[in-house]
């Protein structure tokens, strides 16, 4: 049987062979994703448990209404949209790592590319999930589907977001799926079938974040968001959180598996973060300056966020801890030796990640609503249901990401391939 497959394929038999090898590839993925050591099982069981708790909380929210959250007519978006915004950045940041790999033909970066792209896929899944749980009527989701429902394109920025997010998901699914399948078959991926998509995904990554920024930036009635700096700030913070997460993932892969992750990739990622985290802090300073030096009514939200307003200050601890940990992360990253000290590096990345998460979430979405458009101050802190649902989505996303890496790494390293599978079954 194995000798037969080695005979030169005629065009007809090549198609036939896809018919055999593609299902086999899918089956192999399914098998691999349910197999691992005890740590893998423990991790997956833990994530499933959290995801189920989240699912249960969401089911409660759908049946009883969003009254079970702490959102209100004044603060109509909360933890979900905050997480959504952050996730868009993570998705964009994941793919931005592709630039050094393909533009500079940096070989070390090629491992990172697939890890970044898989991150983008998991992050987009989480984005979509965070939007779905934020809907009052998820059962009417089909109203948004072009053709069947009513798609308010191009006027509503939200429809743009639907398009770019789903497009981005498809592009990355194609790239990852194609590369893995070719590797599995032991073929060299044909650049024609994926390089154009890689470049498309880079441009697209910018678009998802820009469009998401425009969602908020375009609202004239919300001065806190109505600033031209919003989209650029989104991009720089994406360039911090994306690499930070990928470094953490690479470190985990290093310690938990036998795959060699090159130092070069981590060095490049750290160099990217060194610059972007500083630009991010610079833009923050510029924004704070505009808000506070000019003064006036439009700065009420910023005053509320940073110092509290009329005795209300729920967000103050959030934002200052975000600034503090981002600064610490920046200082750690700037240490020349950071790449040689795994603990220092992991700490720096974890801090940077957490700092951006607060800044792009609670620090960006919530103050846009406080004070309200009629200058009422109604505060918001997420409650148990919201935390549970959010944790559930994070768990589901991490599950997807873990499985994706679990499947991709052996295929990428050649440990698992069609030829070996055939030998085993022969």
């Amino acid at each position: 049987m194995s000798s037969m497959s080695k005979t030169a394929p005629s065009p007809a038999s090549a198609g036939e062979r896809h018919l055999v090898s593609y299902p086999r590839f899918l089956w192999r993925i399914a098998v691999m994703s349910t197999e691992g050591n005890w740590l893998f099982y423990a991790w997956m069981i833990f994530l499933s448990a959290v995801a189920l708790v989240g699912l249960n909380a969401w089911a409660t929210q759908v049946s009883q209404g969003m009254v079970v959250t702490n959102m209100s007519d004044h603060v109509s978006w909360g933890l979900y949209i905050a997480n959504f915004t952050f996730m868009v950045g993570l998705a964009a940041g994941g793919v931005m790592m592709v630039i050094p790999a393909y533009l500079y033909h940096d070989d070390d970066m090629h491992d990172v590319v697939i890890i970044g792209e898989l991150l983008a896929i998991a992050a987009i899944f989480m984005c979509i999930a965070f939007v779905v749980v934020d809907l009052g009527r998820p059962d009417r989701f089909w109203h948004m589907i072009p053709g069947i429902g009513k798609f308010h394109f191009p006027i509503s920025m939200l429809t743009w977001d639907v398009i770019v997010l789903n497009g981005y998901l498809l592009i990355n699914l194609h790239i990852c799926g194609y590369l893995l399948y070719q590797r599995y078959r032991g073929r060299r991926p044909n650049p024609k079938f994926y390089i154009p998509f890689v470049f498309l995904s880079i441009g697209w990554a910018i678009s998802i974040h820009t469009v998401t920024a425009f969602l908020y930036q375009g609202l004239g009635g919300r001065p806190f968001w109505n600033t031209a700096l919003l989209a650029p700030r989104f991009l720089t913070s994406a360039f911090v959180s994306g690499p930070a997460f990928i470094i953490l993932a690479l470190e985990a892969i290093r310690y938990l598996s036998s795959y060699k992750v090159g130092d070069g990739a981590i060095r490049i990622l750290v160099n990217i973060m060194r610059i972007t985290i500083l630009i991010n802090l610079l833009m923050l300073a510029s924004e704070i300056f505009t808000e506070f030096y000019t003064g006036g009514a439009h700065t009420a939200s910023a005053r509320y966020l940073y110092f509290g307003l009329h005795g209300h200050n729920a967000l103050v601890p959030w934002i200052w801890s975000s600034i503090a940990i981002t600064v610490v992360a920046a200082l750690l990253l700037l240490c020349p030796k950071v790449t040689k000290h795994p603990i220092m590096l992991t700490t720096a990345c974890a801090l940077a990640f957490a700092g951006i998460w607060i800044e792009k979430g609670m620090g960006l979405i919530i103050p846009g609503f406080i004070p309200s458009t009629l200058h009422e101050i109604v505060e918001y802190t997420p409650n148990g249901i919201e935390w549970r649902i959010s944790a559930g989505i994070w768990a589901a996303g991490l599950m997807i990401y873990t499985l994706a890496i679990r499947v991709a790494m052996p295929i990428f390293s050649g440990e698992v391939s069609l030829a070996k599978d055939k030998d085993n079954s022969a």
Binding site: L55, V62, M66, V67, D73, W77, P138, R140, V162, H375
Partner: protein
């Protein structure tokens, strides 16, 4: 020999996986259970219902009958739901005399009753701001003022949906669940809205309200004269807003808030009718609109007696 070992190993693994999958499925079913009771309450017709603007008159009749039956079943009240259409040559506008508004909030209360708002939340489409004399800066305003009104150093500014001619709430809606009608009213199709609350974020006048849960109203307090696009009892999870009481005003009556106002501060009418009182106000008073700089072009005007 090795083959045997391998196959038995696989089957044990498979068995464990099978148990895992079964437990997983059971846990999933348990987790999702609260939703199943809720879905049982939703009708298939409701789910499949088309957008308001695509409904034929026959389909609308069926829907109105269904909604009436549902109200009877769920709230125990006999109601009559109609779907009045905009009249030709009518564009509604509202004006409010800030010199005589005393801040009694009778309008807000009337709105609450007229529009079948949820009782526990005390919802209303109108918010009255107590403002310091000498400034129109809303930041100085207060909505939770107490004590006898009017206070001598204050004036009062009720704010409700401005039925903007360039409404940001309509622009942002991803599914066209909210739109501007021919007579100037910005309406919401409660059966089409997906509850994303983007419009609530976009409205600069805090005019929109979300149904965070299913509204609760005792049967005897339900206003039985209802409009499909206005005061019928809203479903859970959808957006709603002031419609200038279109179930009244499209039939030639006045909005409930105007009828409730004890000082006559409110003026309502057809801006296209040259003999209307609203036209007289717009032509003879110094009128202004809120947040003019945002370009929303409100159909709600404020004025002072000189």
């Amino acid at each position: 020999m090795t083959d045997q070992k391998k196959s038995s190993g696989i089957s044990r693994r498979t068995a464990v996986k099978g148990i895992g999958a079964t437990l997983g499925a059971a846990a999933f079913a348990k987790a999702i259970a609260p939703i199943t009771t809720w879905t049982a309450e939703q009708s298939v017709d409701e789910f499949l219902q088309k957008h308001y603007q695509e409904l034929t008159p026959e389909q609308m009749q069926k829907i109105l009958a269904r909604l009436q039956a549902e109200t009877k079943e769920q709230y125990g009240a006999e109601v009559e739901i109609s779907d009045p259409k905009p009249q030709e040559g009518v564009k509604f506008a509202y004006a409010l005399n800030l010199s005589i508004c005393v801040g009694c909030r009778k309008c807000a209360q009337a709105c609450h009753l007229e529009n079948n708002h949820d009782r526990p939340s005390g919802n209303s489409y109108i918010r009255v701001l107590e403002m310091k004399k000498g400034s129109l800066d809303m930041e100085q305003g207060k909505v939770d003022y107490k004590g006898p009104v009017p206070k001598s150093d204050s004036f009062y500014m009720p704010v409700q949906c401005q039925q903007c001619d360039a409404p940001p709430c309509v622009d942002v809606c991803p599914v066209e669940a909210t739109w501007k009608e021919k007579d100037g009213i910005v309406a919401v199709d409660y059966n089409w809205c997906i509850g994303c609350r983007y419009c609530e974020a976009a409205c600069p006048y805090h005019a929109r309200r979300f149904n965070w849960t299913k509204p609760q109203i005792p049967a005897e307090e339900i206003n039985p004269q209802q409009g499909y696009l206005s005061n019928r009892i809203r479903p859970q999870g959808v957006m709603e807003k002031c419609t200038f009481c279109l179930h009244r005003t499209r039939e030639g009556r006045l909005p409930a808030c105007l009828e409730a106002c004890p000082t006559g501060a409110r003026v309502f009418g057809n801006i296209l009718d040259p003999d209307s009182e609203i036209r007289w106000v717009l032509e003879n008073k110094r009128v202004f609109v809120l947040k003019e700089e945002l370009g929303t072009k409100p159909s709600f005007y404020y004025f002072f007696d000189e």
